[in-house]
């Protein structure tokens, strides 16, 4: 199934990349395989689990549901680009403080979803947090401490 490669220019975590990809390549595979950013995970094949969530032009998207070519010209932030150097993003710090992760596999997607939520709704209450997590599955935590962590992060001065 060879198809002519298409050019893709993206900025990921502040670094610009100009490359060519197979048109069918998913953004998640582009990030993981082509750029080596393996923090973004694949947990399903039907766009349910949200482990692959990244920020595309500032919005949280499931990178398994975007073609790499669709991201042409976009600014992308992955879990690797969220912290400010050694300083964790408030959501990351809150996940550790509130024990919001166990095996860690869903965590990058959870953190990216939560970070986007707090950008857009800094006053999110528990209902809003749970609603925002509808597209992110976790099998370890029962979500209790994830919700608590996001609430804690929401209360941090930013």
């Amino acid at each position: 199934m060879e198809h002519p490669a298409r050019p893709v220019n993206v900025t990921v975590n502040g670094t610009s990349h100009a490359t060519e990809v197979e048109p069918r390549l998913l953004l998640v595979h582009f990030l993981r395989e082509n750029l080596g950013l393996t923090g973004t995970h694949v947990g399903c094949d039907t766009s349910q689990c949200g482990a692959c969530t990244v920020h595309l032009n500032g919005a949280a998207v499931k990178s398994c549901t975007v073609l790499a070519v669709q991201a042409d010209g976009a600014e992308i932030t992955t879990i690797e680009g969220l912290a400010d150097g050694a300083t964790l993003h408030p959501v990351q710090a809150a996940f550790q403080e509130e024990h919001g992760l166990q095996c860690g596999f869903c965590t990058p997607g959870m953190v990216m979803t939560a970070a986007y939520l707090l950008e857009t709704r800094p006053d999110a209450d528990d209902e809003a947090i749970k609603h925002a997590l509808e597209g992110n599955l976790c099998r370890c935590t029962g979500y209790v401490n994830i919700v608590k962590a996001i609430r804690t992060a929401a209360q941090q001065p930013r």
Binding site: R32, L82, A83, F105, I129, K130, N145
Partner: protein
């Protein structure tokens, strides 16, 4: 449960934040699929679309000619390469379990051909181009149907669907039933569940043909056991296989055994002399990873008219699926040791019958037979109370094993270590404001609303299943390393073992590094499953630490020219009793131990290892209370309150323990509310993706109150019992009892989980039709 430090002087019992979190939070975790090796090849598998069929032909020509394809293998190429399960009884029937199908397939998803290619996409393209023609065979999916006379055979070659039968009997069961005033009967089924670890299974094999070595990265719960299983299947020496469990994205029991793809990938890598990787898609995970539960229980409880439990008969029919993995036959056997629960019933008969069907194999999944056993006895207790017109709590209290009876030998010949079941029940009633719940229910019932309160009081065994290893090593500079066979996949071992070691050695926790998940680095191990880590891994670590401290005291005594009997531990090192200024640090002791500083007759070095096996399980217990409401018009179930009181002995890290309760509970509520793997009568999976199989989401979780009591385990060096399965064991029966209580005004006796809205709506409608 407090998440604050209960004793400021001790690390054990403190809610220390996890040291494993920063890499996982910043995308620096390393799961199998994140391991990159030069020259890596990828495997994709063509799987059966038929639940039972003879393979007439396999056409691989087109696939083999596709770009990037290195080779295509079928069962003819892999020959006798197969998985082997242990024989549990001499009469046990065991079907063939080849890594690629040979002649016949027995379940949808059975692997027929494997494509090895330069990229995963190319491998998948080629796997899709393989053509298989089938000759369909009849199908059986239900275990009880599979055991009927003349049933369709899941494996024609085997000539039977029966795998094994086990029985246990104590006392005079027939006499107990003959003398009973009432016999309470129930038939129930546990739904088949999918473990659904967020990271699907995966394996990467790196061969070294010159040195005759094989390195394998696996998403596994037990690298040492996996190494032995790979060695057995491959016929390759165990000491030349290096298994690494990197970060593992959950397992919940399903990653305890070796699978066909693991053996296949190692074989292909060795054959081609190149690294080879296979990662399951979520769909493949649904079709091939061991699923949980799927047991039918037929039970009778003999009672006196005043509610004394006199005798118990349980017959379990377990659906093993189409093939036997090493642990597939295990979970049903839990009923043999758990049937009487927390009650004094000495006349007990338990029979386990297991059957093959044309479905995905089953195996351990969080609880692994415990949830079925708890559900069985706790539903029986509630139904018995209803039959006799008694309060279900009064009936339970009347039959509890009493605190002074421990250690208590049960009616199935198992010795419980410790317990105080009334204490946890009382705490749960207090936290739930139980009397108020009952009043609310009664008032709601007056208004015609379907509201119910349910309780489950339970015991749960943890530990067991072999030994665990632990070692503590102090190197020349005093740096301390813990080596544990108890490999973590999210439970927080790196934090908790550092806590335990630092506490016992009286050093700062930061001075301790924990290593796990690597068969070269770690002496031996069994792994993490069945709520065993705290009990077994903790027991091994505590034993090794105690031995290390004893040796270090002798070295310290030598250094300080004192008697070892006069040396005591102080923060950071050792001192002589009564002479506080005479101290040595761990660093000094370690330096001496590696430089001829050990006393005469003692080996140099400072490294102690323990292989720990208490030869008994730890019996935790608890009481869970649920308040539920059912919308009579839609059948929708809402859990309005859930109280969980668990007694797991000494708590090592309250934050981690509470989170284990949360996670277990979510999976328990999945079973109670929404999860069920469904096969249609033709054997086709109907819930093979996350679009159809409903796992709990954040909004599923009800309001929770979590409490604890603490009854230390007298047979464990740390006093601990396991907690990982408390939520899956205790909560579903509480919800089930609450649902049946809510539906009792309609005369509904029993409904099996999960309590989906359509199921409850139909039951309500049928009941109202009369």
């Amino acid at each position: 449960m407090s998440t604050e430090q209960s004793n400021p002087n001790r690390l054990i019992g403190a809610s220390i934040r996890r040291v494993e979190d920063p890499p996982l939070l910043t995308g620096q975790g390393c799961y199998v699929d994140d391991v990159k090796l030069p020259g890596i090849l990828h495997v994709a598998i063509h799987r059966s679309t038929h639940p039972h069929a003879r393979i007439v032909s396999i056409d691989t020509a087109e696939a083999a000619a596709m770009p990037g394809v290195v080779c295509v293998l079928t069962g003819d190429d892999t020959g006798d390469l197969a998985l082997r399960a242990p024989m549990l009884t001499p009469e046990m029937n065991m079907p063939e379990h080849p890594v690629l199908a040979r002649g016949t397939v027995h379940a949808v998803g059975a692997p027929i051909a494997a494509v090895v290619a330069e990229s995963r996409a190319l491998a998948e393209d080629a796997a899709a181009a393989i053509g298989v023609t089938y000759d369909s065979l009849p199908v059986v999916t239900d275990a009880e149907a599979a055991l009927e006379d003349g049933a369709t055979l899941a494996h024609e070659e085997l000539g039977t669907n029966h795998c094994y039968t086990m029985k246990r009997e104590n006392g005079d069961v027939d006499k107990a039933f003959a003398e009973a005033d009432h016999v309470c009967r129930l038939h129930m089924k546990s739904p088949r569940l999918v473990a659904m670890s967020m990271e699907a299974r995966g394996v990467l094999a790196y061969p070294d043909p010159i040195r005759k070595e094989l390195t394998v990265w696996m998403s596994t719960q037990g690298p040492h056991r996996s190494r032995a299983d790979l060695a057995n299947s491959l016929g390759f020496p165990e000491n030349r296989i290096h298994v690494i469990a990197p970060d593992v994205g959950g397992g919940f029991g399903s990653k305890g055994c070796v699978y066909r793809e693991d053996v296949l990938v190692c074989h292909v890598a060795q054959k081609l002399g190149r690294p080879v990787k296979w990662m399951a898609t979520r769909s493949e995970d649904f079709l091939t990873t061991c699923q949980g539960r799927d047991q039918a229980m037929t039970s009778e409880l003999a009672l006196s008219k005043d509610g004394k439990m006199l005798g118990l008969k349980v017959r379990v029919v377990a659906n093993l699926g189409a093939y036997l993995h090493s642990a597939t036959a295990g979970p049903p056997q839990r009923m043999l040791v758990m049937a009487p629960g927390c009650y004094q019933i000495q006349d007990v008969r338990v029979e386990i019958v297991s059957a093959f069907t044309n479905t995905v194999p089953t195996g351990p999944y969080r609880g692994a037979g415990r949830p079925e056993a708890v559900l069985n006895i706790e539903r029986l207790a509630d139904k018995a109370a209803r039959d006799l017109g008694m309060d279900p709590l009064e009936l339970r209290r009347k039959n509890y094993i009493q605190p002074e009876q421990f250690p208590y030998r049960t009616g199935v010949g198992v010795e419980y270590d410790s317990g105080d079941y009334e204490k946890s029940l009382d705490e749960a009633l207090r936290l739930s404001d139980y009397d108020q719940l009952i009043r609310m229910r009664d008032e709601a019932r007056e208004r015609g609303e379907l509201v119910g309160v349910g309780v489950s009081t339970f015991v749960e065994p943890s530990g067991g299943a072999g030994f665990e290893s632990g070692a503590v090593r102090v190197d020349r500079t005093g740096a301390i390393t813990v080596l544990t066979g108890s490999s973590s996949h999210g439970q927080g071992h790196e934090t908790v073992w550092a806590q335990v070691a630092a506490d016992l050695l009286k050093v700062p926790m930061e001075d301790v590094v924990v290593r796990h998940g690597d068969t070269i680095a770690i002496q031996q191990g069994t792994g993490t499953f069945g709520s065993r880590s705290a009990v077994m891994g903790g027991g091994a670590l505590a034993t090794a630490a105690e031995r290390l401290v004893t040796k270090a005291k002798a070295v310290a005594a030598n250094l300080m020219e004192a008697s070892a009997d006069d040396v005591v531990q102080v923060e950071g090192g050792f001192a002589v009793t009564g002479v506080p200024e005479r101290t040595v640090t761990w660093r000094q002791v370690a330096g001496a131990a590696h430089a001829k500083g050990t006393p005469a007759g003692m080996d140099p070095g400072l490294h102690e290892t323990a292989f720990f096996d208490p030869n008994r399980e730890a019996w935790g217990f608890g009481a869970h209370v649920a308040l539920v409401r059912i919308d009579a018009d839609t059948g929708e179930l809402t859990i309005e309150k859930l109280v969980l009181v668990d007694d797991i002995g000494v708590v090592l890290n309250p934050m981690v323990v509470e989170a284990q309760v949360h996670g277990g509970l979510a999976q328990g509520l999945g079973e109670a509310l929404c999860e069920e793997m469904v096969f249609d009568e033709d054997g086709q999976p109907r819930t093979g993706t996350l679009m159809d199989y409903a796992v709990p989401r954040a909004s599923t979780m009800p309001p929770l109150i979590i409490g604890e009591t603490e009854t230390p385990n007298p047979f464990n060096p740390l006093g601990v019992k396991g907690v990982g399965e408390a939520g899956t064991n205790g909560a579903p029966p509480a919800v089930a009892n609450a649902v049946m209580d809510a539906l009792s005004p309609l005369g509904i006796d029993h409904i099996d989980m999960p309590y989906t809205a359509p199921k409850l709506w139909r039951a309500i409608r049928e009941a109202r039709k009369g």
